[in-house]
């Protein structure tokens, strides 16, 4: 009667992961999840900014249909009463739960994360979320700032914790409640990091000595980049440490050493996130739910780490639109596990020796985040929503993406065939 679903959505995570071939990052737990999953190496968001991307993939509609290009409208009022992935699962007998940042907060999700439409109970937000942009970063002078680069002593933080640590604790609590109640569930966990500010437990810096951190391969503004395509990364310019650098607008470059510090902190934040994901998946094992739960891991969009002289996401470049996307489906992406067998034992990023990243199945076919809705419906054995007509403002349930389950068991040759045997773009064109 259908699997449970655990969907993990990470804020501003580009595929800086060992399983995606990054040799610097330490992400053992996400790599382990990938080794048991189907991993898509060419997955793209439809718009590289928080609310528009999340509303798009959660409703299965493109931005031109949600008509949300900024943060200031609610699709059910502004465009159409579109159903969402969690709403559809809720209507099909699931208990749907949201922890952390799944919908973007504010008017774009009706100030309620689209509750009660999408969720069976009020969404959980960590109490320390409100300090995210406060002056909590200790500067060299000992004073507190609202910096971009913000490694912290967690014991000094408000509540002696951080939002994603609280989210993991709440998600684990909910997993145990679902297990006790034998309730079929759809649990969405939204992690805030590595979204700016890059605020993470300072011990993660040890994983990335600054001398090992390089600049982006192309840290300059490309000569023939149209001015309209460039994004001037205004948000990070407002952080205290960046503001103090007085970089000229719009094309001035950050000092190289500071660029390396940003990249160092992004990687450190990714390992901190990997730890949280590891604890969450370990709890799935503990609750005996790994054999009956589909796990999806993805992000709302990527982030520029200095490429093209850019920081942030606000563009159509691959570094901003490409996202990790992987599906663990018990019995499909792995053979079924025996009762009690551990699928996701927690791996400590500080001690786990990374010799070879475990390999799962990866597909390099180009796919879109807007396909998540039909794909999840098909994987859970629900009726796959119909394809939307050309204009679908009046249609509550349909999708503008195509299920990608057909690629799960497709051989590489079959995927290539889908490319119509076109090995020479110009010849075919």
């Amino acid at each position: 009667d259908g699997m449970n679903v655990l969907i993990i959505v990470v804020d501003d995570l580009r595929p800086v992961l060992g399983c995606y071939g990054d040799n610097l990052v330490k992400s053992p737990n996400i790599d382990q999840l990938a080794s048991r999953s189907i991993m898509f190496t060419n997955a793209y968001a439809q718009q590289a900014v928080c609310a528009p991307s999340r509303v798009s993939f959660l409703t299965g509609r493109r931005p031109d249909t949600t008509r949300l290009y900024d943060f200031y409208s609610y699709w059910r009022v502004h465009s159409g009463n579109y159903s969402t992935i969690p709403q559809y699962f809720k209507e099909n007998g699931y208990m749907t739960l949201s922890v952390g940042k799944v919908f973007h907060p504010g008017i774009s999700s009706n100030y309620s994360d689209d509750y009660p439409y999408s969720w069976s109970m009020p969404p959980f937000h960590p109490s320390t979320e409100k300090y995210e942009n406060d002056k909590t970063c200790r500067g060299k002078d000992g004073k507190l700032y609202a910096n971009l680069v913000c490694p912290v002593d967690v014991t000094e933080m408000p509540g002696s914790t951080l939002p994603d640590i609280q989210s993991t604790e709440e998600a684990i609590r909910l997993l145990n409640v679902m297990k006790t109640n034998k309730q079929k569930f759809f649990l969405a966990v939204g992690y805030h990091k590595p979204h700016i500010p890059l605020r993470y437990p300072q011990e993660f810096l040890k994983l990335y000595p600054l001398e090992n951190i390089t600049l982006a391969p192309d840290p300059w503004v490309p000569e023939k980049l149209p001015s309209v395509a460039y994004n001037p990364w205004m948000d990070i310019r407002q952080r205290d440490d960046v503001k103090a650098l007085n970089v000229s607008f719009p094309y001035g470059l950050l000092p190289y050493n500071f660029q390396r510090q940003i990249r160092q902190s992004y990687y450190a934040a990714v390992s901190y996130l990997d730890m949280q994901v590891g604890l969450l998946l370990n709890a799935l094992d503990d609750a005996g739910l790994s054999n009956s739960t589909i796990v999806v891991f993805t992000a709302d969009h990527g982030w520029s780490l200095g490429e093209h002289g850019e920081w942030a996401k606000y563009s159509n470049f691959d570094v901003a639109t490409r996202v990790p996307l992987m599906f663990y489906v018990p019995g499909m992406t792995t053979s079924s596990v025996t009762q009690g067998e551990r699928v996701f034992p927690y791996l400590d990023p500080f001690s786990h020796i990374l010799d070879l990243v475990p390999q799962g199945q990866s597909k390099n076919v180009v796919v879109e985040l807007v396909s998540l809705f039909p794909t999840l419906a098909e994987l859970a054995g629900l009726q796959v929503p119909p394809v939307c007509p050309e204009t679908s403002f009046h249609v509550a349930l349909c999708t503008e993406g195509a299920s990608i389950v057909r690629y799960f068991d497709a051989s590489e040759e079959k995927v290539e065939e889908e490319k119509d045997g076109c090995d020479d773009t110009y010849r075919c064109v």
Binding site: Q47, P226, P232, D318, V366, D420
Partner: protein, 93 residues
């Protein structure tokens, strides 16, 4: 040719960077960048956009980008205005 593609888009208030270029409000959007991404290339056209009726005018192209992934995986060399490549794609799109 039926090859899987990914579409993405990004709004802009103006042709040159300004204070609200990253996150323009709907009413301030004047240009929309539409991208088509395949395994082989990313093609983007930045066209005039009317926020009042959400229409994009593909006859009013403000700028274009074309990157061939095989030779330029980091998308540093925009060849949209090169005669051979750009003309091909302009014709198609």
């Amino acid at each position: 040719n039926g090859e899987p593609v990914a579409f993405s888009q990004y709004p802009r208030p103006a042709d040159t960077p300004q204070w609200n270029s990253d996150k323009p409000r709907l009413k301030d959007i004047r240009i929309m960048g539409y991208s088509v991404r395949t395994i082989d290339y990313r093609y983007t056209v930045w066209v005039r956009f009317n926020p009042d009726n959400f229409s994009a005018d593909f006859k009013d192209v403000h700028a274009g980008e074309l990157y061939m992934m095989e030779t330029d995986p980091n998308q540093d060399c925009n060849i949209y205005n090169n005669t051979s490549h750009g003309v091909f794609f302009k014709k198609i799109f």
